[in-house]
Symmetry: C2
Subunit: 552 residues, 2 copies
């Protein structure tokens, strides 16, 4: 084909020149992954002001040569964070499955539009439906072979772009199932307030937001206390229900299978039973716990009776090595999503296969689901289960190392892969133990501030050095492990071991970086500690540290 | 590094073997784009049952060799639709910008998490903020240089995964701005119903859904009639406002700059004035019209005063050559999104740069915005404007050809790139003209059914042949171009010319395929037409044809 315009090279015809350019993009991508672009650190840390000044430029006006793109990509890689780096222990979103990556890349070129079947996404539609069916099978919901899926009403779940949205859709579904009149008349015509029960201290912030965004109102989230091991205290639920005023109608309980803060898992069976008894929708936020579904052993230990819940959310971009975006919500009752279709009857007669009919909030959208589908297709459930189990062994190994260190206190026992801890050197621990229950309130406050301060200093130094990335956020000491009470929140470190390439050796190496950094500061902290207990000084109590998403 | 397990090859360490695999994925991707995988058709059409049976398989259990993936990818490509094919004229989502594709691929490897700044997405956060700023500049909202963006409250817009969600966020913002009490108390405590005004016949179905999902209720959408050229009849707005009962409080008007059905553009200035006068939020759905912002000429012709609206949505994955997902909502008042933050004060003090604070519905999410940022960075506004202008010339050329054909009736004048039309051969047109206003109601009905039937037959044949892809959906004949009244909807064909690689030659060739197919059937249709007007026969009136998303 002869050249039509100076822009033709910029649009994909797939000639040799373009092939080279795309392959060079792959090379740069691999340079980033391998660490070459970022001096082999998980991050070349720079302050916000620096990054802004590097980027600062007005709206670009003129065409640049394609080759300029490479330089720009390299620079972006230089200042990006590598979640798959072996010293990145903050979040579980390693996104480093080769197979999932192949799917992710291919989906960009395919550019199918999952809003519709004809003219938009013929085979992709059924791949996504099949994937939803596989996920149903993993949960333990009833399953059908793809051939037996006869209509959209048989599609018992949906893709979303993240756990935030998956949870949102779960609550939307529960609300509409219990109060179908709001579809036409809205919430403002109700004579009562619909109410959600959950533990605010461990639930994901998306639920609180959903109450706002769905028009339920934040005051209509009723808090359930938590236990000392960061799970919903189901024993209190009935008491709470009895006390509710008449104008508050409870319609659902949200429990967590792997909360964002500590990844601990609620007693799903007990909450299931209570929900059944009181006719409440049970939604399980298993965005983190979902990866355990692949291992029969871990599933039966941690996720027993998950299949009795009305809805379950899972986030394969967390803990399942798939790059963003990959999140799903599954429903026990298959046809729930047809409530949101403008043409509900067409969802039951099999005449239409447009997923856009049953995906609230999503119209035109890409084929993101290919990534997870391909991952499961090639890896297989058993192999994924094995990988998750061997990761779990490493997690337990890390827990052991952390607990052996005398200067840190772990706040939770690990259920999936996340552990929160504070820097509280042996001398402080001894002081607290010796004076248990008798420490002056003012000193308790100052000791907490001291622990916060040094936990933050160590973590920030590690982060800025690019040597080791741990998470940092605010957390209640629910089990009173430190011994200074369960009120207020600590600034905690956390590790979340998502990457399947971690080994005992890499973990030991990483944690040693932490221990060495802590060791350096221990004596300085001692002076401050000593001043506090001898009433000599003030720690900067009001210092507010930034707090990561896990604590939102 | 020595091999640790049999799974190590499956996770990205970026060795040579993995490099080869990823590059082979690129080759397969290019085979798809070029048409090799799909026999050079825009689609190898297969019925749903066939696709289901091809895919049908239980949950995969065992590990497969990586090489198996290639075969699977090829098969998926074989049955996927190519929106960038030159004979694909249905939707404008060509997604074929080389630069945007480079960004899309790289973003998968980077796997930044735009929920947060530290530990998640340092440089990516500012790239996204800068992009939002560029989009603000294109609209004509006030702009700042990146260096002067001092806090999250300065970020006057957000990325979303599609126009559906962008519109949803716009309504959510308007609702909360006007009735801030619902954040805590919910809609059920309001003594009135908040009401939205819009033209249901041309607005996107996402708005109707939003009324449901936000708890407003569908009955609280008040319909504004449309004009004969598929725009909101702004003259009626004040009349409607006066008639509203007291318990209905209007808070916003939604207008469209490029409606999904015909891509015609509302008179934005007039609606702006009315909104200001009555203190209503003005949201402009410019998902389609957004591409015109790059051309000063087209912007001033079609989008005058767009910058006076309170919120504007644009969809670069429609009409701007960027692959899915790419959609944005921009706000005139910068700090609007802080309403949705759990820590509003932190959004104003500059201490936090976590975008998750101000992106309702989105927590963990990838770096999808890189694609559009890079596209604008390399192409530049002026060049993109030139491309849009030259596309517009081709659109006008297509319109001319369509209008010259005696057997088709176009229902709208093209504003951006979309034209709807029906197959109504010259002999029917003559009959209608000659008997104008005097045709028996029963015959009118039958003639409409006849037009529907044959429009559908032609379009379906073309679609199944893989030769030419036109859109099909239901549309009112707002301007009574056919002459049989404006009630009921027709099954229409539509072209939407998004692909920048279209030329006059390719369009002429494509439309000739349509004309030839129509010619084949014209005589058969004549017999049926003749039977109808001589009262001899019934057309299958109740036949319901499937209807694409544009008509939802």
């Amino acid at each position: 084909m002869k050249k039509k315009s100076k822009y033709e090279d910029y649009f994909l015809l797939s000639d040799e020149k373009q092939e080279k350019i795309l392959k060079k993009t792959i090379n740069i991508s691999l340079d980033f992954l391998r660490g070459d672009l970022r001096d082999n650190k998980f991050l070349i840390y720079k302050k916000p002001e620096y990054l802004k000044s590097q980027l600062d430029s007005g709206l670009p006006l003129h065409l640049k040569k394609i080759e300029n793109t490479f330089k720009i990509l390299k620079k972006i890689g230089r200042y990006s964070i590598a979640q798959s780096d072996l010293n990145y222990l903050a979040f579980p979103d390693s996104g480093n499955s080769l197979i999932a990556m192949m799917g992710a890349l291919y989906s960009k070129f395919l550019n199918q539009n999952l809003i519709g079947f004809d003219r938009s996404a013929p085979v992709a539609t059924f791949i996504e439906i099949q994937l939803i069916e596989w996920l149903r099978e993993l949960i333990g919901y009833n399953t059908k072979s793809l051939k037996k899926i006869n209509c959209l009403a048989d599609v018992g779940g949906m893709f979303t772009t993240g756990g935030h949205m998956s949870n949102h859709v779960g609550i939307l579904a529960a609300l509409n199932k219990k109060f179908p009149e709001i579809k036409e008349n809205g919430l403002s015509n109700l004579k009562f307030s619909p109410v959600i029960l959950l533990s605010k201290k461990i639930s994901h912030y998306s639920i609180d937001s959903a109450a706002h965004h769905l028009g339920i109102g934040k005051e209509n989230i009723i808090d359930i206390p938590i236990t000392g091991d960061y799970t919903t205290d189901y024993n209190v639920i009935e008491k709470i229900l009895k006390k509710l005023p008449k104008n508050k109608k409870p319609f659902m309980v949200v429990s967590v299978a792997g909360n964002t803060r500590t990844s601990n898992i609620d007693n799903l069976s007990k909450i299931n039973n209570l929900c059944k008894k009181h006719n409440l929708w049970h939604h399980i936020d298993a965005c983190h716990g979902g990866s355990l579904l692949f291992s029969d052993k871990l599933k039966s230990k941690y996720l027993q009776n998950i299949e009795q819940a009305d809805s379950v959310t899972i986030d394969p971009h967390k803990g399942l090595f798939v790059p963003y975006s990959s999140s799903y919500i599954l429903f026990k009752e298959r046809s729930v999503l047809t409530m949101f279709s403008r043409y509900q009857e067409d969802c039951f007669n099999g005449s239409v296969w447009d997923l856009g009919f049953i995906t609230p909030f999503y119209g035109s959208r890409g084929f993101d689901s290919l990534s997870l589908w391909l991952f499961i297709k090639i890896m297989g459930k058993k192999s994924i289960g094995e990988i998750i189990e061997s990761r779990f062994k490493i997690v337990k190994f890390a827990e052991k190392i952390m607990k052996e260190n005398q200067d840190f206190i772990t706040l939770n026992e690990i259920d999936i892969y996340r552990m929160a801890f504070v820097f509280c050197p042996d001398y402080i621990q001894k002081y607290i133990t010796l004076n248990s229950g008798k420490i002056n309130k003012n000193i308790v406050k100052k000791l907490k501030s001291l622990i916060d301060k040094y936990s933050h200093i160590i973590n920030q130094r590690l982060y800025e050095s690019g040597k080791l990335c741990l998470d940092e956020y605010k957390l209640h000491d629910a089990g009173n492990k430190v011994g200074l009470g369960t009120e207020d929140r600590y600034i905690v470190f956390a590790i979340t071991l998502g990457n399947p390439l971690f080994t005992k050796e890499t973990i030991e190496k990483s944690l040693n970086i932490l221990f060495q950094e802590a060791e350096k500061i221990k004596i300085k902290m001692y002076y401050e500690f000593n001043n506090i207990i001898s009433f000599k000084t003030n720690v900067d109590e009001k210092k507010e540290y930034k707090s990561g998403p896990a604590g939102w």
